[in-house]
Protein backbone atom coordinates (compact mmCIF):
# COMPACT_ATOMS: atom_id res chain seq x y z
CA UNK A 1 0.00 0.00 0.00
CA UNK A 2 2.80 2.38 0.89
CA UNK A 3 4.50 1.59 -2.41
CA UNK A 4 1.34 2.55 -4.28
CA UNK A 5 1.12 5.79 -2.34
CA UNK A 6 4.78 6.53 -2.99
CA UNK A 7 4.46 5.93 -6.73
CA UNK A 8 1.43 8.20 -6.70
CA UNK A 9 3.36 10.97 -4.97
CA UNK A 10 6.32 10.50 -7.29
CA UNK A 11 4.04 10.94 -10.31
CA UNK A 12 2.71 14.10 -8.72
CA UNK A 13 6.09 15.73 -8.19
CA UNK A 14 7.47 14.76 -11.61
CA UNK A 15 4.36 16.05 -13.35
CA UNK A 16 4.39 19.23 -11.25
CA UNK A 17 7.90 20.14 -12.34
CA UNK A 18 7.09 19.30 -15.90
CA UNK A 19 4.04 21.57 -15.83
CA UNK A 20 6.08 24.46 -14.47
CA UNK A 21 8.78 23.98 -17.12
CA UNK A 22 6.40 23.69 -20.06
CA UNK A 23 4.21 26.58 -18.91
CA UNK A 24 7.30 28.75 -18.40
CA UNK A 25 8.39 27.97 -21.95
CA UNK A 26 4.91 28.79 -23.22
CA UNK A 27 4.77 32.18 -21.49
CA UNK A 28 8.13 33.25 -22.87
CA UNK A 29 7.64 31.84 -26.34
CA UNK A 30 4.10 33.16 -26.81
CA UNK A 31 5.28 36.62 -25.83
CA UNK A 32 8.29 36.38 -28.15
CA UNK A 33 5.96 35.46 -31.01
CA UNK A 34 3.84 38.57 -30.45
CA UNK A 35 6.91 40.79 -30.30
CA UNK A 36 8.41 39.23 -33.43
CA UNK A 37 5.14 39.48 -35.31
CA UNK A 38 4.20 43.02 -34.40
CA UNK A 39 7.58 44.69 -34.24
CA UNK A 40 9.81 42.71 -36.55
CA UNK A 41 7.04 41.45 -38.85
CA UNK A 42 8.38 37.94 -38.81
CA UNK A 43 7.92 35.06 -36.42
CA UNK A 44 8.84 31.49 -35.76
CA UNK A 45 6.84 29.72 -38.42
CA UNK A 46 6.13 26.56 -36.43
CA UNK A 47 5.75 28.45 -33.15
CA UNK A 48 1.99 28.78 -32.95
CA UNK A 49 1.30 25.14 -33.82
CA UNK A 50 3.93 24.04 -31.34
CA UNK A 51 2.46 26.24 -28.59
CA UNK A 52 -1.05 24.91 -29.14
CA UNK A 53 0.22 21.37 -28.76
CA UNK A 54 1.98 22.36 -25.57
CA UNK A 55 -1.45 23.37 -24.25
CA UNK A 56 -2.48 19.73 -24.60
CA UNK A 57 0.62 18.76 -22.62
CA UNK A 58 0.13 21.17 -19.71
CA UNK A 59 -3.59 20.45 -19.81
CA UNK A 60 -3.17 16.72 -19.41
CA UNK A 61 -0.47 17.17 -16.78
CA UNK A 62 -2.69 19.62 -14.92
CA UNK A 63 -5.48 17.05 -15.10
CA UNK A 64 -3.17 14.41 -13.60
CA UNK A 65 -2.53 16.74 -10.66
CA UNK A 66 -6.24 17.58 -10.41
CA UNK A 67 -6.98 13.86 -10.11
CA UNK A 68 -4.72 13.53 -7.08
CA UNK A 69 -6.27 16.54 -5.37
CA UNK A 70 -9.90 15.65 -6.23
CA UNK A 71 -10.25 18.89 -8.10
CA UNK A 72 -11.91 17.78 -11.31
CA UNK A 73 -15.03 19.76 -12.01
CA UNK A 74 -18.04 18.04 -10.53
CA UNK A 75 -21.37 18.65 -8.87
CA UNK A 76 -20.61 18.75 -5.20
CA UNK A 77 -23.63 19.87 -3.28
CA UNK A 78 -24.96 16.37 -2.59
CA UNK A 79 -21.66 15.06 -1.24
CA UNK A 80 -21.40 18.15 0.96
CA UNK A 81 -24.72 17.36 2.61
CA UNK A 82 -24.17 13.69 3.43
CA UNK A 83 -22.33 12.29 6.48
CA UNK A 84 -18.60 11.64 6.20
CA UNK A 85 -18.87 7.86 5.94
CA UNK A 86 -21.26 8.08 3.03
CA UNK A 87 -19.09 10.74 1.43
CA UNK A 88 -16.17 8.34 1.47
CA UNK A 89 -18.31 5.63 -0.11
CA UNK A 90 -19.34 8.11 -2.82
CA UNK A 91 -15.71 8.97 -3.45
CA UNK A 92 -14.71 5.34 -3.83
CA UNK A 93 -17.58 4.58 -6.17
CA UNK A 94 -17.11 7.62 -8.40
CA UNK A 95 -13.34 7.13 -8.49
CA UNK A 96 -13.66 3.54 -9.67
CA UNK A 97 -16.14 4.64 -12.31
CA UNK A 98 -13.77 7.42 -13.39
CA UNK A 99 -10.87 4.96 -13.60
CA UNK A 100 -12.88 2.66 -15.87
CA UNK A 101 -13.93 5.48 -18.19
CA UNK A 102 -10.37 6.83 -18.36
CA UNK A 103 -9.19 3.35 -19.27
CA UNK A 104 -11.57 3.29 -22.24
CA UNK A 105 -10.58 6.81 -23.19
CA UNK A 106 -6.96 5.69 -23.08
CA UNK A 107 -7.78 2.84 -25.47
CA UNK A 108 -9.50 5.25 -27.82
CA UNK A 109 -6.44 7.49 -27.63
CA UNK A 110 -4.08 4.59 -28.35
CA UNK A 111 -6.09 3.76 -31.47
CA UNK A 112 -5.92 7.40 -32.49
CA UNK A 113 -2.14 7.57 -32.01
CA UNK A 114 -1.69 4.33 -33.95
CA UNK A 115 -3.60 5.70 -36.90
CA UNK A 116 -1.40 8.81 -36.79
CA UNK A 117 1.75 6.67 -36.71
CA UNK A 118 0.52 4.84 -39.80
CA UNK A 119 -0.08 8.01 -41.78
CA UNK A 120 3.25 9.34 -40.50
CA UNK A 121 2.24 12.95 -41.02
CA UNK A 122 4.82 15.60 -40.19
CA UNK A 123 3.64 18.37 -37.86
CA UNK A 124 6.64 20.71 -37.63
CA UNK A 125 10.38 20.51 -38.31
CA UNK A 126 10.49 16.87 -39.41
CA UNK A 127 8.72 15.86 -36.22
CA UNK A 128 5.71 13.61 -36.82
CA UNK A 129 2.34 14.51 -35.32
CA UNK A 130 2.18 11.43 -33.16
CA UNK A 131 5.08 12.63 -30.96
CA UNK A 132 2.90 15.50 -29.84
CA UNK A 133 -0.31 13.59 -29.24
CA UNK A 134 1.34 10.82 -27.29
CA UNK A 135 0.42 12.82 -24.20
CA UNK A 136 -3.26 11.94 -24.69
CA UNK A 137 -3.05 8.15 -24.06
CA UNK A 138 -0.31 8.62 -21.47
CA UNK A 139 -2.38 11.27 -19.72
CA UNK A 140 -5.53 9.14 -19.58
CA UNK A 141 -3.49 6.13 -18.41
CA UNK A 142 -1.92 8.02 -15.51
CA UNK A 143 -5.24 9.62 -14.60
CA UNK A 144 -6.92 6.19 -14.56
CA UNK A 145 -4.08 4.87 -12.40
CA UNK A 146 -4.41 7.68 -9.90
CA UNK A 147 -8.19 7.35 -9.67
CA UNK A 148 -7.70 3.67 -8.96
CA UNK A 149 -4.88 4.12 -6.44
CA UNK A 150 -6.91 6.63 -4.47
CA UNK A 151 -9.96 4.41 -4.28
CA UNK A 152 -7.81 1.42 -3.26
CA UNK A 153 -6.20 3.53 -0.53
CA UNK A 154 -9.61 4.68 0.72
CA UNK A 155 -10.96 1.13 0.82
CA UNK A 156 -7.87 0.05 2.73
CA UNK A 157 -8.36 2.94 5.16
CA UNK A 158 -11.95 1.86 5.78
CA UNK A 159 -10.77 -1.64 6.64
CA UNK A 160 -8.46 -0.08 9.18
CA UNK A 161 -11.34 1.90 10.62
CA UNK A 162 -10.53 5.32 9.14
CA UNK A 163 -13.65 6.89 7.76
CA UNK A 164 -12.24 10.39 7.51
CA UNK A 165 -11.41 11.77 4.10
CA UNK A 166 -8.13 13.64 4.29
CA UNK A 167 -8.54 17.28 3.34
CA UNK A 168 -6.50 18.29 0.33
CA UNK A 169 -4.21 21.21 0.93
CA UNK A 170 -3.89 23.75 -1.82
CA UNK A 171 -2.95 27.39 -1.91
Amino acid sequence: MNILKRIDQMIDSIVSWFVVGVLGLMIVMAFAQVVLRNIFHSNIEWGDIFLRHLVLWVGFFGAIIATGERRHLKIEFVSKLVPKKIHKAFLILTNIFAAIICYFLMQAAIAFVQSEIETGEILILNLPTWYFILVIPIGYAVIAFRFLVHSVVWIWEIFRGHWEVAEVQHL
Binding site: L23, G62, I65, F97
Partner: protein
Protein backbone atom coordinates in the same frame (compact mmCIF):
# COMPACT_ATOMS: atom_id res chain seq x y z
CA UNK B 1 -34.61 -0.68 -21.28
CA UNK B 2 -30.86 -0.98 -21.19
CA UNK B 3 -30.53 2.65 -22.22
CA UNK B 4 -32.84 3.82 -19.45
CA UNK B 5 -30.73 1.96 -16.93
CA UNK B 6 -27.52 3.51 -18.24
CA UNK B 7 -29.03 6.99 -18.20
CA UNK B 8 -30.27 6.59 -14.62
CA UNK B 9 -26.92 5.23 -13.49
CA UNK B 10 -25.10 8.19 -15.07
CA UNK B 11 -27.46 10.72 -13.51
CA UNK B 12 -26.92 9.08 -10.13
CA UNK B 13 -23.15 9.24 -10.62
CA UNK B 14 -23.35 12.95 -11.47
CA UNK B 15 -25.01 13.68 -8.15
CA UNK B 16 -22.69 11.38 -6.22
CA UNK B 17 -19.92 13.68 -7.41
CA UNK B 18 -18.30 11.83 -10.30
CA UNK B 19 -15.95 14.10 -12.27
CA UNK B 20 -18.14 15.54 -15.02
CA UNK B 21 -15.64 14.78 -17.75
CA UNK B 22 -15.98 11.06 -17.00
CA UNK B 23 -19.76 11.33 -17.41
CA UNK B 24 -19.42 13.19 -20.70
CA UNK B 25 -16.72 10.73 -21.74
CA UNK B 26 -18.95 7.79 -20.86
CA UNK B 27 -21.82 9.15 -22.95
CA UNK B 28 -19.47 9.78 -25.90
CA UNK B 29 -17.90 6.31 -25.64
CA UNK B 30 -21.30 4.67 -25.34
CA UNK B 31 -22.76 6.73 -28.17
CA UNK B 32 -19.98 6.09 -30.67
CA UNK B 33 -19.72 2.41 -29.77
CA UNK B 34 -23.47 1.89 -30.14
CA UNK B 35 -23.28 3.35 -33.64
CA UNK B 36 -20.45 0.98 -34.49
CA UNK B 37 -18.01 3.88 -34.88
CA UNK B 38 -14.43 3.47 -33.62
CA UNK B 39 -14.12 5.41 -30.35
CA UNK B 40 -10.88 6.88 -31.67
CA UNK B 41 -13.26 9.40 -33.27
CA UNK B 42 -13.58 11.03 -29.83
CA UNK B 43 -9.84 11.65 -29.82
CA UNK B 44 -9.94 13.04 -33.36
CA UNK B 45 -12.44 15.58 -32.05
CA UNK B 46 -10.39 16.29 -28.93
CA UNK B 47 -7.36 16.89 -31.11
CA UNK B 48 -9.34 19.44 -33.15
CA UNK B 49 -8.90 21.71 -30.11
CA UNK B 50 -5.24 22.01 -31.02
CA UNK B 51 -6.19 23.56 -34.35
CA UNK B 52 -7.95 26.48 -32.65
CA UNK B 53 -5.64 29.46 -32.15
CA UNK B 54 -7.56 30.59 -29.08
CA UNK B 55 -6.66 27.38 -27.20
CA UNK B 56 -3.40 29.02 -26.18
CA UNK B 57 -5.26 31.91 -24.54
CA UNK B 58 -6.76 29.59 -21.93
CA UNK B 59 -3.60 28.65 -19.97
CA UNK B 60 -2.05 32.09 -20.47
CA UNK B 61 -4.99 34.08 -19.12
CA UNK B 62 -5.44 31.55 -16.32
CA UNK B 63 -1.85 31.78 -15.12
CA UNK B 64 -1.95 35.59 -15.37
CA UNK B 65 -5.09 35.60 -13.23
CA UNK B 66 -3.50 33.33 -10.65
CA UNK B 67 -0.36 35.48 -10.49
CA UNK B 68 -2.55 38.52 -9.83
CA UNK B 69 -4.70 36.71 -7.27
CA UNK B 70 -1.67 35.50 -5.34
CA UNK B 71 0.11 38.85 -5.36
CA UNK B 72 -0.96 41.93 -3.43
CA UNK B 73 -2.82 43.19 -6.51
CA UNK B 74 -6.24 42.76 -4.86
CA UNK B 75 -5.15 45.13 -2.06
CA UNK B 76 -3.86 47.68 -4.55
CA UNK B 77 -7.04 47.48 -6.63
CA UNK B 78 -9.25 48.08 -3.59
CA UNK B 79 -7.06 50.94 -2.34
CA UNK B 80 -7.13 52.65 -5.71
CA UNK B 81 -10.86 52.19 -6.22
CA UNK B 82 -11.43 53.54 -2.70
CA UNK B 83 -9.43 56.68 -3.40
CA UNK B 84 -11.15 57.13 -6.75
CA UNK B 85 -14.83 56.54 -5.94
CA UNK B 86 -14.98 56.01 -2.19
CA UNK B 87 -16.32 59.56 -1.66
CA UNK B 88 -19.63 58.82 -3.36
CA UNK B 89 -22.70 57.86 -1.29
CA UNK B 90 -22.50 54.08 -1.00
CA UNK B 91 -19.04 54.57 -2.42
CA UNK B 92 -17.35 51.70 -0.64
CA UNK B 93 -19.97 49.31 -1.98
CA UNK B 94 -19.27 50.58 -5.48
CA UNK B 95 -15.55 50.17 -4.78
CA UNK B 96 -16.18 46.53 -3.94
CA UNK B 97 -18.24 46.04 -7.09
CA UNK B 98 -15.74 47.64 -9.40
CA UNK B 99 -12.76 45.83 -7.88
CA UNK B 100 -14.52 42.49 -7.99
CA UNK B 101 -15.69 42.96 -11.56
CA UNK B 102 -12.18 43.75 -12.79
CA UNK B 103 -10.75 40.92 -10.79
CA UNK B 104 -13.31 38.35 -11.94
CA UNK B 105 -12.70 39.29 -15.54
CA UNK B 106 -9.01 38.61 -15.08
CA UNK B 107 -9.33 35.40 -13.16
CA UNK B 108 -12.26 33.95 -15.12
CA UNK B 109 -13.66 31.77 -12.39
CA UNK B 110 -16.04 33.24 -9.86
CA UNK B 111 -14.88 31.27 -6.86
CA UNK B 112 -11.45 32.88 -6.88
CA UNK B 113 -12.86 36.38 -6.49
CA UNK B 114 -14.79 35.57 -3.34
CA UNK B 115 -11.80 33.89 -1.77
CA UNK B 116 -9.18 36.48 -2.79
CA UNK B 117 -11.10 39.76 -2.69
CA UNK B 118 -14.11 38.92 -0.55
CA UNK B 119 -12.00 38.26 2.50
CA UNK B 120 -10.28 41.57 1.95
CA UNK B 121 -13.32 43.81 1.54
CA UNK B 122 -15.83 42.15 3.88
CA UNK B 123 -14.21 43.44 7.10
CA UNK B 124 -13.83 46.92 5.57
CA UNK B 125 -17.54 46.97 4.72
CA UNK B 126 -18.41 46.04 8.30
CA UNK B 127 -16.02 48.64 9.72
CA UNK B 128 -17.77 51.28 7.61
CA UNK B 129 -21.06 50.43 9.29
CA UNK B 130 -22.72 48.56 6.46
CA UNK B 131 -25.05 45.91 7.82
CA UNK B 132 -23.67 42.40 7.84
CA UNK B 133 -26.56 41.25 5.68
CA UNK B 134 -25.83 43.84 3.01
CA UNK B 135 -22.09 43.18 3.16
CA UNK B 136 -22.53 39.43 2.76
CA UNK B 137 -24.99 39.86 -0.08
CA UNK B 138 -22.74 42.31 -1.86
CA UNK B 139 -19.60 40.24 -1.58
CA UNK B 140 -21.36 37.06 -2.68
CA UNK B 141 -22.93 38.84 -5.63
CA UNK B 142 -19.72 40.55 -6.69
CA UNK B 143 -18.01 37.19 -6.97
CA UNK B 144 -19.39 36.60 -10.42
CA UNK B 145 -19.86 40.12 -11.74
CA UNK B 146 -17.37 40.72 -14.48
CA UNK B 147 -17.75 37.44 -16.34
CA UNK B 148 -18.87 39.43 -19.36
CA UNK B 149 -15.75 41.58 -19.53
CA UNK B 150 -12.61 40.63 -21.42
CA UNK B 151 -10.50 38.60 -20.94
CA UNK B 152 -13.01 36.33 -19.20
CA UNK B 153 -12.29 32.66 -19.85
CA UNK B 154 -15.96 31.61 -20.06
CA UNK B 155 -16.39 33.94 -23.05
CA UNK B 156 -13.46 32.27 -24.78
CA UNK B 157 -14.89 28.83 -24.07
CA UNK B 158 -18.33 29.80 -25.33
CA UNK B 159 -16.76 31.11 -28.54
CA UNK B 160 -14.85 27.86 -29.01
CA UNK B 161 -17.95 25.74 -28.65
CA UNK B 162 -20.44 27.92 -30.49
CA UNK B 163 -17.89 28.63 -33.24
CA UNK B 164 -18.39 32.36 -32.86
CA UNK B 165 -15.66 35.00 -33.11
CA UNK B 166 -14.24 35.60 -29.65
CA UNK B 167 -13.29 39.17 -30.47
CA UNK B 168 -16.95 39.81 -31.34
CA UNK B 169 -18.07 38.23 -28.08
CA UNK B 170 -15.71 40.48 -26.17
CA UNK B 171 -17.20 43.49 -27.93
CA UNK B 172 -20.73 42.26 -27.27
CA UNK B 173 -20.14 41.64 -23.57
CA UNK B 174 -19.07 45.11 -22.55
CA UNK B 175 -22.46 46.94 -22.46
CA UNK B 176 -24.41 44.08 -20.82
CA UNK B 177 -21.54 43.66 -18.35
CA UNK B 178 -21.71 47.34 -17.44
CA UNK B 179 -25.51 47.11 -17.09
CA UNK B 180 -25.22 44.31 -14.52
CA UNK B 181 -22.63 46.29 -12.56
CA UNK B 182 -24.74 49.45 -12.77
CA UNK B 183 -27.95 47.91 -11.45
CA UNK B 184 -26.08 46.56 -8.43
CA UNK B 185 -24.28 49.88 -7.99
CA UNK B 186 -27.60 51.74 -8.06
CA UNK B 187 -29.01 49.44 -5.41
CA UNK B 188 -25.87 49.85 -3.27
CA UNK B 189 -25.98 53.63 -3.48
CA UNK B 190 -29.66 53.52 -2.50
CA UNK B 191 -28.80 51.31 0.49
CA UNK B 192 -25.84 53.51 1.42
CA UNK B 193 -28.10 56.55 1.52
CA UNK B 194 -30.78 54.78 3.50
CA UNK B 195 -28.45 53.52 6.21
CA UNK B 196 -26.36 56.69 6.27
CA UNK B 197 -22.96 55.06 6.16
CA UNK B 198 -20.13 57.53 6.81
CA UNK B 199 -18.63 59.19 3.75
CA UNK B 200 -15.04 60.07 3.08
CA UNK B 201 -14.08 63.30 1.39
CA UNK B 202 -12.24 63.00 -1.88
CA UNK B 203 -8.52 63.70 -1.61
CA UNK B 204 -6.14 64.18 -4.52
CA UNK B 205 -3.22 63.16 -2.37
CA UNK B 206 -4.77 59.83 -1.46
CA UNK B 207 -5.66 59.17 -5.08
CA UNK B 208 -2.13 59.99 -6.17
CA UNK B 209 -0.66 57.64 -3.55
CA UNK B 210 -3.00 54.81 -4.53
CA UNK B 211 -2.28 55.47 -8.18
CA UNK B 212 1.45 55.29 -7.59
CA UNK B 213 0.90 51.99 -5.82
CA UNK B 214 -0.99 50.41 -8.67
CA UNK B 215 0.76 52.20 -11.53
CA UNK B 216 2.18 49.03 -13.06
CA UNK B 217 -1.13 47.22 -13.11
CA UNK B 218 -3.30 50.10 -14.28
CA UNK B 219 -2.34 49.69 -17.95
CA UNK B 220 -3.49 46.07 -18.08
CA UNK B 221 -7.25 46.44 -18.57
CA UNK B 222 -6.80 49.35 -20.97
CA UNK B 223 -4.23 47.44 -22.85
CA UNK B 224 -6.32 44.27 -23.19
CA UNK B 225 -9.63 45.98 -23.84
CA UNK B 226 -8.11 48.65 -26.07
CA UNK B 227 -5.96 46.12 -27.90
CA UNK B 228 -8.81 43.75 -28.64
CA UNK B 229 -11.46 46.40 -29.39
CA UNK B 230 -9.08 48.42 -31.47
CA UNK B 231 -8.23 45.36 -33.50
CA UNK B 232 -4.51 45.58 -32.66
CA UNK B 233 -4.51 42.24 -30.90
CA UNK B 234 -6.31 38.96 -31.09
CA UNK B 235 -7.47 37.47 -27.79
CA UNK B 236 -4.57 35.03 -27.93
CA UNK B 237 -1.98 37.74 -28.45
CA UNK B 238 -3.49 39.72 -25.59
CA UNK B 239 -3.16 36.61 -23.43
CA UNK B 240 0.49 36.18 -24.35
CA UNK B 241 1.35 39.77 -23.51
CA UNK B 242 -0.73 39.76 -20.32
CA UNK B 243 0.85 36.58 -18.95
CA UNK B 244 4.39 37.79 -19.61
CA UNK B 245 3.74 41.31 -18.34
CA UNK B 246 2.00 40.18 -15.14
CA UNK B 247 4.82 37.75 -14.45
CA UNK B 248 7.49 40.47 -14.79
CA UNK B 249 5.50 43.00 -12.77
CA UNK B 250 4.54 40.75 -9.86
CA UNK B 251 7.87 38.97 -9.59
CA UNK B 252 10.48 41.58 -10.44
CA UNK B 253 8.84 44.97 -9.94
CA UNK B 254 6.44 44.56 -7.03
CA UNK B 255 8.33 41.48 -5.79
CA UNK B 256 5.06 40.10 -4.40
CA UNK B 257 5.87 36.61 -5.62
CA UNK B 258 9.16 34.86 -5.00
CA UNK B 259 10.66 33.41 -8.15
CA UNK B 260 11.85 30.16 -6.61
CA UNK B 261 8.90 29.31 -4.36
CA UNK B 262 5.72 31.21 -5.19
CA UNK B 263 6.07 31.18 -8.95
CA UNK B 264 6.26 27.39 -9.45
CA UNK B 265 3.50 26.88 -6.86
CA UNK B 266 1.14 29.32 -8.53
CA UNK B 267 1.96 28.00 -12.01
CA UNK B 268 1.17 24.46 -10.93
CA UNK B 269 -1.99 25.60 -9.21
CA UNK B 270 -3.27 27.43 -12.27
CA UNK B 271 -2.66 24.45 -14.52
CA UNK B 272 -4.81 22.27 -12.28
CA UNK B 273 -7.74 24.43 -13.35
CA UNK B 274 -6.63 24.35 -16.99
CA UNK B 275 -6.34 20.57 -16.79
CA UNK B 276 -9.80 20.24 -15.32
CA UNK B 277 -11.19 22.48 -18.06
CA UNK B 278 -9.32 20.65 -20.82
CA UNK B 279 -10.67 17.29 -19.68
CA UNK B 280 -14.22 18.59 -19.98
CA UNK B 281 -13.55 20.30 -23.30
CA UNK B 282 -11.92 17.23 -24.78
CA UNK B 283 -14.77 14.87 -23.97
CA UNK B 284 -17.35 17.51 -24.82
CA UNK B 285 -15.88 17.87 -28.32
CA UNK B 286 -16.51 14.16 -28.82
CA UNK B 287 -20.02 14.33 -27.40
CA UNK B 288 -20.87 17.34 -29.56
CA UNK B 289 -19.82 15.62 -32.75
CA UNK B 290 -21.87 12.59 -31.77
CA UNK B 291 -24.96 14.69 -31.01
CA UNK B 292 -24.66 16.60 -34.26
CA UNK B 293 -24.13 13.35 -36.14
CA UNK B 294 -27.34 12.04 -34.61
CA UNK B 295 -29.09 15.33 -35.49
CA UNK B 296 -30.08 15.82 -31.87
CA UNK B 297 -30.32 19.63 -32.13
CA UNK B 298 -32.75 19.31 -35.07
CA UNK B 299 -34.87 16.82 -33.14
CA UNK B 300 -34.76 19.06 -30.12
CA UNK B 301 -35.93 21.99 -32.21
CA UNK B 302 -38.69 19.92 -33.84
CA UNK B 303 -39.86 18.96 -30.39
CA UNK B 304 -39.66 22.41 -28.84
CA UNK B 305 -41.19 24.19 -31.83
CA UNK B 306 -44.39 22.20 -31.39
CA UNK B 307 -44.89 23.82 -28.02
CA UNK B 308 -43.03 27.09 -28.35
CA UNK B 309 -43.74 29.21 -31.36
CA UNK B 310 -42.63 32.68 -30.35
CA UNK B 311 -39.11 33.91 -29.80
CA UNK B 312 -40.09 35.61 -26.54
CA UNK B 313 -41.45 32.42 -24.98
CA UNK B 314 -38.36 30.54 -26.12
CA UNK B 315 -36.11 33.12 -24.49
CA UNK B 316 -38.08 32.82 -21.27
CA UNK B 317 -37.69 29.05 -21.29
CA UNK B 318 -34.02 29.48 -22.10
CA UNK B 319 -33.58 31.74 -19.07
CA UNK B 320 -35.19 29.18 -16.79
CA UNK B 321 -33.17 26.33 -18.29
CA UNK B 322 -29.85 28.17 -18.00
CA UNK B 323 -30.54 29.30 -14.45
CA UNK B 324 -31.13 25.68 -13.49
CA UNK B 325 -27.98 24.50 -15.24
CA UNK B 326 -25.92 27.30 -13.73
CA UNK B 327 -27.16 26.58 -10.25
CA UNK B 328 -25.83 23.04 -10.36
CA UNK B 329 -22.54 23.36 -12.16
CA UNK B 330 -19.95 26.03 -12.65
CA UNK B 331 -19.46 27.72 -15.97
CA UNK B 332 -16.72 25.49 -17.31
CA UNK B 333 -18.97 22.44 -17.12
CA UNK B 334 -22.12 24.26 -18.20
CA UNK B 335 -20.38 24.98 -21.50
CA UNK B 336 -21.39 21.45 -22.53
CA UNK B 337 -24.95 22.55 -23.30
CA UNK B 338 -23.78 25.25 -25.72
CA UNK B 339 -23.67 23.07 -28.87
CA UNK B 340 -27.23 22.00 -28.13
CA UNK B 341 -28.77 25.40 -27.55
CA UNK B 342 -26.96 27.34 -30.28
CA UNK B 343 -28.58 25.58 -33.29
CA UNK B 344 -32.00 25.62 -31.63
CA UNK B 345 -31.74 29.31 -30.72
CA UNK B 346 -30.63 30.17 -34.25
CA UNK B 347 -33.85 28.61 -35.56
CA UNK B 348 -35.69 31.15 -33.43
CA UNK B 349 -33.66 33.92 -35.00
CA UNK B 350 -31.34 34.56 -32.06
CA UNK B 351 -27.87 35.74 -32.94
CA UNK B 352 -25.26 33.32 -31.51
CA UNK B 353 -23.21 36.25 -30.21
CA UNK B 354 -26.24 37.57 -28.33
CA UNK B 355 -26.97 34.03 -27.14
CA UNK B 356 -23.47 33.87 -25.66
CA UNK B 357 -24.11 36.99 -23.62
CA UNK B 358 -27.51 35.64 -22.47
CA UNK B 359 -25.82 32.37 -21.56
CA UNK B 360 -23.15 34.00 -19.42
CA UNK B 361 -25.49 36.53 -17.81
CA UNK B 362 -27.81 33.73 -16.74
CA UNK B 363 -25.00 31.66 -15.29
CA UNK B 364 -23.65 34.72 -13.49
CA UNK B 365 -26.97 35.07 -11.68
CA UNK B 366 -27.51 31.32 -11.26
CA UNK B 367 -24.34 31.23 -9.16
CA UNK B 368 -26.26 33.17 -6.51
CA UNK B 369 -29.46 31.19 -6.54
CA UNK B 370 -30.41 29.11 -3.54
CA UNK B 371 -30.25 26.33 -2.67
CA UNK B 372 -27.09 25.26 -4.47
CA UNK B 373 -25.57 28.26 -6.29
CA UNK B 374 -21.80 28.06 -6.37
CA UNK B 375 -21.15 31.54 -4.95
CA UNK B 376 -23.27 30.73 -1.90
CA UNK B 377 -21.06 27.75 -1.20
CA UNK B 378 -17.86 29.70 -1.76
CA UNK B 379 -19.01 32.55 0.48
CA UNK B 380 -20.30 30.16 3.12
CA UNK B 381 -16.90 28.50 3.16
CA UNK B 382 -14.97 31.78 3.14
CA UNK B 383 -16.97 33.67 5.78
CA UNK B 384 -18.09 30.69 7.79
CA UNK B 385 -21.77 31.56 7.56
CA UNK B 386 -24.67 29.17 6.93
CA UNK B 387 -25.95 28.92 3.36
CA UNK B 388 -29.44 29.95 4.44
CA UNK B 389 -28.23 33.25 5.85
CA UNK B 390 -26.26 33.98 2.69
CA UNK B 391 -29.23 33.10 0.52
CA UNK B 392 -31.40 35.63 2.36
CA UNK B 393 -28.68 38.27 2.17
CA UNK B 394 -28.26 37.72 -1.56
CA UNK B 395 -31.95 37.75 -2.41
CA UNK B 396 -32.39 41.52 -2.97
CA UNK B 397 -29.33 41.48 -5.23
CA UNK B 398 -30.79 38.66 -7.31
CA UNK B 399 -34.02 40.62 -7.73
CA UNK B 400 -32.07 43.66 -8.94
CA UNK B 401 -29.91 41.56 -11.27
CA UNK B 402 -33.03 40.11 -12.84
CA UNK B 403 -33.88 43.57 -14.12
CA UNK B 404 -30.52 43.63 -15.85
CA UNK B 405 -30.99 40.10 -17.13
CA UNK B 406 -34.36 40.93 -18.67
CA UNK B 407 -32.85 43.94 -20.45
CA UNK B 408 -29.94 41.89 -21.75
CA UNK B 409 -32.11 39.01 -22.91
CA UNK B 410 -34.92 40.91 -24.60
CA UNK B 411 -32.99 43.85 -26.03
CA UNK B 412 -30.44 42.19 -28.32
CA UNK B 413 -29.16 45.58 -29.52
CA UNK B 414 -27.47 46.07 -26.16
CA UNK B 415 -25.16 43.20 -27.02
CA UNK B 416 -24.95 43.65 -30.75
CA UNK B 417 -24.47 47.37 -31.35
CA UNK B 418 -20.72 47.30 -30.69
CA UNK B 419 -20.31 44.22 -32.87
CA UNK B 420 -21.73 45.66 -36.07
Amino acid sequence: MKIIFVVLALIALVFLGAPLFTIIGAISLFGFASQGIDTAAIMVELYRLASQPVLLAIPLFTVAGYFLAESRAPKRIVAFAQALIGWMPGGLAVVVLASCAVFTAFTGGSGVTIVALGGLVFPILLAEEYSEKFALGLVTTSGSLGLLFPPSLPIILYGTFAEVSIDNLFRAGIVPGIILVLVIAAYSIYQGRKTNVPRHPFEWKKLWMAFKGIAWEIPLPFFIIGGIYGGYFTATEAAAVTAFYVFIVEVFIYKDLKFTTDVPRVMRESMVLVGAILMILGCAMGLTSYLIDQQVPQQLFAFISQVVTSKIVFLMLLNVFLLMIGMMMEIFSAIVVVPLIVPVAMQYGINPVHLGIIFLANLEIAYLMPPVGLNLFMASFRFNKPIGKLAIATLPFIVVLFIGLILITYVPELSLWLVK
